[in-house]
Every structure is written in C-alpha cells, then in structure tokens.
Point group: D2
Chain length 293, copies 4
C-alpha cells in the first residue's frame, strides 16, 4: 500500500480517488474547490506526503497543468515523481519532464480512458517514461486499471502515454462516425422498419460488436430516433492533434480526419464554404440560391 497525492478532483479525478482508495492506498486529494479537497493547498498536500512522494495531476491540459507542474517543481524534493494524467498534448511532456528533471524530480505521462464508467470498470492507462519512474507509480496503475491482463501499458518514452491515448481518441472519432453514418443510412430507408433492433442485434456474433455499439443501443433505448438531441458535436483536442501528428509523419488518415471535419461542420449554423458553392452554381448555371433569413 502506498500514498498518493492527487491534484484535481473533478468528474475524472474524484472517481479515481475513490477507486484507488478502494484498493487500499492512501490518497490525499487537492482541488481548488474546497468542498472536494482533503487539503487546502499544494503546500499542505506535499507536507502530508512522506518522501519519496508520487503526485498525480488530473487538471485541464494547457495552462492549468503547466502552472501545477511549475508549482510542484518548487515544492517537491529530489526523488519525488510527478504523473500527468490529464489530456496534455504529447509534445508538452518532454518539456515538463526536462523542467522537473532539472530538479531531480521524475516525470511520467499517462493517458487515461474510461470516462464515467471508470470507477466500476477500471480505467485504461497508457503511460510513458523511464522504467525507474514508472515502477514507483505501478501500485497506483494496478489499482486504477481494469481487472485482467489488458488495460494498462508502458507505451514507451516520455510522451508515449499521451501519444497512445491521443491515437486512441482519434480511432474513437472514426468509430463513432462509422456507427453514426450507418445508423443514419438505416434511418433513411423505408424497408428497414426497426433500426434500433437492428443495432441491438449487432451486439452479438457480428464483426462490428463493440462497447461503443452497446452505448449506441443504450442511447436509442433512451430516445429511439434521437429526436431530442441536436446534431452538434464538440471536440476536445485529441482528434485535432492526431491529424496534426499524422501530417508530421506523412501518414494518410482519411477516416479519422473525416470524422473530425464532420464535427467541425456540425457546429456551423450556416456553412461558409457551401455559400460559395451555391454562389458559384448561381453564377454559371443560373441556379437559384436560397437566401438567408
């Protein structure tokens, strides 16, 4: 059993604290929201942990993660280890590792998947870093991961964890798009009279059975034709980064990119590019355009 400092106790971090505690470890949690926190400052968190410490960061990627790492660099001691379990871009990890290494503090990046289901099912973990640093965190990884052989991987060097998680999310985008396209097509034809039951039937024996398919059936059970939901999909960064990484390595990524672009388009009230297409058709063919209201 070990002690962990956990920073960020939101939807993800809060459930992770619970799962780690259930495994018998001690977790001291900090959050800006005092109602969620066990301690009231990073200083207090560090003070309460015995060296060598392991501190897991679970805050939003970007500025919040950066300032937390900066502050921990001031508060922690040589031999301590920091884990970034947030959705940081993999290109930030090398920078963070160097910043902390200058103070002899170890760094591990860790992509975490599992969402609201993680508390019960376990969290899938992809982590990167030196074997020595990874070893210090392993009991926590074991507590968080799902039961069984798979669900956690030491993917490679610093950055590899977030890279693997990013690619996971890229694949996720394309899989969601795949089911969504198929569902729309089924809904569009007259001969298929029970689309929801078709998807339900796919849950066993088919080539395309998956957990996402199970979720699709759940969603249709709640709202058979999704009439209450607007066709509007946000994106949280990993899909964009996946495409950018692919461009860096000259890897064609047509399915994943088409899923990303479909989300972009879903958020436009009126498509500028289709205005231009309509304008051009009008110019050469005299085709009528529809006017904005």
């Amino acid at each position: 059993m070990m002690e962990l400092g956990l920073i960020g106790l939101g939807k993800m971090g809060g459930n992770m604290r619970e799962r780690i505690r259930r495994a018998g470890h001690t977790v001291i949690g900090y959050d800006r929201n005092p109602d969620l926190a066990d301690v009231h400052s990073l200083q207090e968190l560090v003070d309460k942990l015995e060296a060598p410490r392991v501190v897991w960061i679970m805050v939003p990627a970007g500025a919040a993660t950066q300032s937390t790492i900066d502050e921990l660099g001031e508060l922690l001691s040589p031999g301590d280890t920091v884990v970034d379990g947030g959705n940081s871009r993999w290109t930030d990890d090398e920078k963070h590792a160097e910043e902390l290494a200058a103070k002899s503090i170890g760094f591990v990046d860790c992509g975490v998947s599992g969402g609201v289901w993680g508390l019960e099912n376990g969290y899938a973990l992809m982590y990167g870093g030196d074997a020595e640093n990874v070893a210090k965190v392993r009991p926590i990884f074991d507590a968080l991961k799902p039961e069984g052989e798979s669900g956690a991987v030491h993917a490679g060097k610093v950055g590899a964890g977030h890279f693997a998680k990013m690619v996971h999310n890229g694949i996720e985008y394309a899989m969601m798009q795949a089911y969504a396209e198929g569902w729309e097509l089924l809904e569009a034809v007259d001969s298929v009279t029970d689309v929801r039951e078709v998807l339900r039937s796919w849950q066993s024996g088919t080539v395309i059975r998956s957990w996402l398919l199970d979720l699709a059936v759940n969603a249709l059970d709640a709202d058979e034709h999704l009439t209450k939901i607007r066709g509007y999909a946000a994106d949280s960064g990993e899909g964009r980064w996946t495409v950018e990484a692919a461009i860096d390595h000259a890897v064609p990524l047509p399915a994943i990119t088409s899923a990303l672009f479909a989300r972009f388009a879903s958020r436009q009230d009126d498509s500028p590019q289709m205005k231009m297409v309509a304008a051009l058709r009008n110019q050469f063919g005299g085709h009528a355009v529809e006017n904005t209201k």
Copy 2:
C-alpha cells in the same frame, strides 16, 4: 447550311436555337410551352423537316427524354438521326441507341456545357456515337461550339459523350469545393483583411486561375461576404453518377466524393449522424448534449 429539329426550348434549348440560327442554319423548335415553340407537335416538327432529318432533344433526363425518344421512334424514318443533348445518364444511351437502331434511326449522345454563358461564348460539346451519325450533326456542333480549336470532341462510342460530360461535372464539383474551402479559411483568420481582393489577385499569374475563380470574384463583387446566400447546395445527378461510375471501376475519388457529400450535408437542417455522435459522447463521457428546440 442545314435544318435541325430542336425539342425543348428552355433556358438551355432556347439559347442554343438562337446560336444555331446566328450561324445560318434553319431551326424548327418544339416545346410544350406554345409561347416558345415554332411548331405545335412533334408530328408537325417531323413533317416540316426534309429527310434525312436531324432532331436534337434538349429535355430533362429520365422520363421526359425517354418518352420523347419513344415518340420519335414512331415518327421518324430510316436514315434520320436523333441527338440527346440533355443530361441523360450515360447508361441510358446504349438503350436509346438500340431502340432507335431497330428502326434504322441513328443516335448520338451529346453532353453540353456552358450554362447561361453559352449563347455568347459557345457551348462545350462532348459527343459519342458512330462516325457516320456524328458526321450528319457536325454542322450543328460547329455552330454551337466556342470559336477556336477546342470546345468540342467526339469522345468515343455511344454513351461516351454523356460520360465525358458527367466526369466534367464531377471535376467541377471538386473544383468548386476547393475554392470554397480556401475562401472559408481565408475568411476565418484575422490577419487577412481583404479576402475578396486576395481572390481577385489570383486571377492572373497564379497556378489556380480559372473561369470558376473569375465567377467567384463576380459573386464576391455582388455580395462581399456572401451574407445573403444560404450555405445550401443542390446537386443535379452527375456528381452522384460520377461516384457510382468510379465505384464500378474501383477508382478512388476522394476529392470529388467529398464535394458531393458536402452538398448532401448542406441540405440537412440537423444532421442525424451527428446526433448519434453527440449521443455517444454523452454516453461514455457524460459530455453534455445540445437539445433540439
């Protein structure tokens, strides 16, 4: 100078009659609308032409073209020639040619491009059929085509004319999409302060100068940010047929197909597939969905 029977005197056919007459030929035009027509029935049109006759059909593809060909099959004589200048699917041409050949009537299919600019600039023509039948129509082709060496082609066997025109339109879809994407991106950034003038500058000296670009500048001159036009684009069939033909021949067509799909999406008020993506994100991540109103 020769005589031509012309069936269908709408936006395209009416201007074509005018251009052929300016070249000195005799045109007897028929249209269901008596205000446009020179004669009042196909029978009268056939009677007024001296054999061997050439009759050019310029009516909507599908049922209207089929019934016109059926009727001409009854009225015309062996040695006469029918030209289908409408937007028929190339797969119909072989059938039409056989139907008429059974009565020793010749058949030529002809794709016509030029839109509202054709009367002044000439019409681009792509035709298919036997050399013998094509030869009988050549004076009309010469009258319709633009001045200069290019602008008309005997593309191959029956069906080749409409096939070439269909591919022309497929390319057109992707070119329009290309300019539209670029324009939207320019409009999206702050540093580019005069997007319209950027497009205007491209009209000379650049790799992407084209007639479609000229039309884009015209459109922006009329409405600088296309605020009055809705991003809604119809499609008239040729884009779909191009993709279907590519699938038949296992030819990948990613740019043209993406342009077709962008048009489909532009006509959806709320995207069913993006409802499913939103529903799935909500299921696994607890991401909020936007509700329909």
Copy 3:
C-alpha cells in the same frame, strides 16, 4: 425440430449445416461438389423434404443465386419458403420475392455475419420479409444465432435483411480503417516503443474495445509488424453498395467511403491519378518526376 434444405455447403454453408444439426434439426444439404452434398440434385433435395418446405440458399450472390431461385421456383410447391442467406444485393430481393410469390412460394432475405467463428459463436442474422414467412424459418434462426438476447433481428420488409447486413459491412470497413490508421500512426513515431502492447492494453477499459480490436491483437501476435502481409485489400461488394445506397438517399458517408477508396487504391500498382498530379507539378513548377522503371 424441423427439416431444412440447405443449398451451398462452402466455408459458410458447411458450418451452418453443422450448427443447425447440433441444435437437433434435420438438414438436407446440396452442393455442386458431391463430396460435400447429402443429395445429388435440387430435385432430390425437394423430394426428400416434406411440404411445407423451407429451403435456405447459401450460394454466391448474382448469377448463382438467381439460377437457384429460378430452379426452386420450378421445383417447390405453394406454401414452401425460400431463404436467401447469401450476400445478395438488397435490390435483388424484391425481384426474387415477386418471382416466387407468383407461385405462392414465400421469400425471406437474410444477411449472415460471423465468418469462420460462426460455428462456435453463432451467426448474427438480419432478415426481412413478411411475418408469416419469417415465422416458418424461426427455429432455424434460433439455431444459428448466438446465445443470448441479441444476434438476430427481423429488420423489416423483404430486402431489409440484406440492407442491414450491407450497412453492417459498411460500418465494418470504416472501423477496420480506423484501427488501421491509428496503428500506422503509432508505428510511425519513435517514442512509442511497443505498439502491439498498446493495442493489447486497449482491449479492456477503453472506449474503443471491440471484437475487431481483439482480432488486431491476434494478428500482431502472429506477425508483430505485419511484415509478411502485403497492404492489399479486396472488397466483396457490400462496401460499394453501401455508398451507392447512401448516394441514393443523399446521406453523406465520408468515413465509410474513405475506407472503400483506401481499398481501391491498395490494389493499384501505380496510381494513375497520382501520375497526373506528378505531371502537373512538373508542368508548372519544374518539379522532377519519378520515372516508371
């Protein structure tokens, strides 16, 4: 327990006979290959079955299925039922149903998924047709389907079964493409040192866990970097039909279509379209081209 006539005893049909027999039903199988067959002609098969008969066709789509249906139309009696379990295009089903209905023979179309794993795991079934005809086949459906609640569906009218199976395969194309793109990207970067273990880790707890992912891990266990396999993928028709159906209904299908096009491109030794792109770059920029050998 019931009797079934089964026509076509290849990789799929042979295993299906075995699974149906294990459930206690009587199967009389016919195949052109006498080593596989229980009877030596369709006549003999029909004679051995007691009316009202159920005959399941499991032969290649197209000509073979058509001629089998034609022959069964001659041999069967009013009240008998034919099931087409092959990969027929859904547009053929209506035609087949009418042909048989003229002789008072029922028709059910059934898409079957499960491949080489179906014998043990069960076959996923999607069928279409009148409730009356479906009811006659239900004991066979129950024998073939996987255990549990899902795995079989009465999707709708005649044609709906093959339509649902076709869409299933379209989704399958895009899912395979999604994993394939992600895997290629992981293989392309240096920081991820054990790509196979990353995929293995995804099998639990992740959003993208699925049966296809399990198969990907199996494939990597057999050949870690797939060095022995050429990047060449055939397609069996359903992907093409899915895109064509989407075009008919103006449904945008970017991810599925990109997967189909990637397969087309994988089968070209040298891409004609990229020859043209190279030629154009050379024309305007003096960029060197690579010559064919």
Copy 4:
C-alpha cells in the same frame, strides 16, 4: 526606378532578378553560388545599396531564411526594409517582423506564385505588412506582377501574404486532385476512346477550363497515357500547413485534405494501414492475404 538587393538566385530568384531588371530597376543579387551572384557576401550587398534599402530574400523556408534574417538584422540600418518572398510558414512572419522591428527595420512577407512561367507571364504576389513598408517595395511588386489589374494584392497584416499563398497552394492541391481523379476515371472506361482529346475539348467553353487544365493537356501531349511517369507526388509544406490552419480554426477541409493524403499514400511502397486491413479480413473471414515478396 529603384535599387533592390536580392538574396537567393535559384530557379525562382534568378528569373525574378531578370524580370525586375527588364522593368528598369537595379538589382544587386547575392547567392551562395558565386557563379550566380553579383556580390560575394551579404555585407557587400548591403554596402552597395543606398539607404533606405529594400532587400528581398528568396531562399528556402526555415533555417536558411532565419539565418538570413538574423544576419540582415546585424547589417541593415533603421529605415531599411526586408521582404521575405520565400515559402515561409505564415507563423514565422510575426516573429521575423518583431525581430527586425526591434532594430527599426521594416518587414513585408510576400507569397510568390508563377513557377517557371513567371519570367514571361509575371509572378502573382500576395503580401502582408504595414502600408508604409509595403509602399517602399511597390515598384518591385509592379515589376514582378503580371500585366493587368489582378495578380498582386496587399492581403493584410504581417503574415497575411504567406497565409494567402499557402491557401492558394491548398486550393491548387485539390484542383490537381480533381482533374487527376476525372482523368483516371475516363481512362478506366472502354467507351471513351480518346481521353486526351476530351481534356483538350474542355479548354474552351466549359465550367472547368483553367490554366491547370491547359497544363494537363500539355502533359498528355508529351506522354498520352503518362506511362513514363510514376504515380509519386511530393509535397512542399503548404498543403500540410493549410490543413493545420484549418484545424486551428475548426474549418472542415475535406477536398484539400484528401488531396494531401493521396500524396502521402503515393509515396508508400506498401501501405501499413492496408496491411492491417488485410490482416483483419483474414482474421475474421479467413480471406487470403497477399504476402510481401
């Protein structure tokens, strides 16, 4: 008439020097290759120009441009102006402008299109920067640009010139892809017997006539079926940057991106992702794979 310092006298810079001189201006050119150069060092170049100087950089983007700007920062005087006419990424321009502004040296970024045809036809120019700095370079812009009203534009702030040129190139990618796809499809069918003449015919009167189409016809006149050219297309960065900029602004760019990915794929001897697709088909369906040799 004015004086210009021109750094970089390769394929582009050399012809530009010639065109500017033909317009009557004085050009002092420097190149690392002494056979091309008028002076033998940047120091000598700066010494020979009378203040306030205008120096135009025409060297490869990235390190070469950066070191040239660094060196000019040391050599030039307050009130001088630097133009970066290379293919720099627009995100570098702001940085360069600030670096030089710290020494009271002006900066203008300029995208240049025209390739090997520019000497005769003129170069299309898209430039960004303060009006004051742009004004100092205008006589050179006027000398380089094509005759007529279009062909040059002050696109906006610093960076806007390279941004506009980058988008130009993105559009160029998709247009080339569009023609290439259409050409491949025409070559694939039997009924079209003379594909080259079809493309030639499109040069007049069609919606898709363009300079790129003219070049396509040139290429086919040199090699009717492009049998000598390998389907292998490099990319020079602007296409990638265009997609990245679109991702930054959440603009869907399906046609341009598909063109970029087609180039990536064209450079792979064997597609890793299609190996995975083949492996998966083998896993679930027992479909044979092709082995690498």
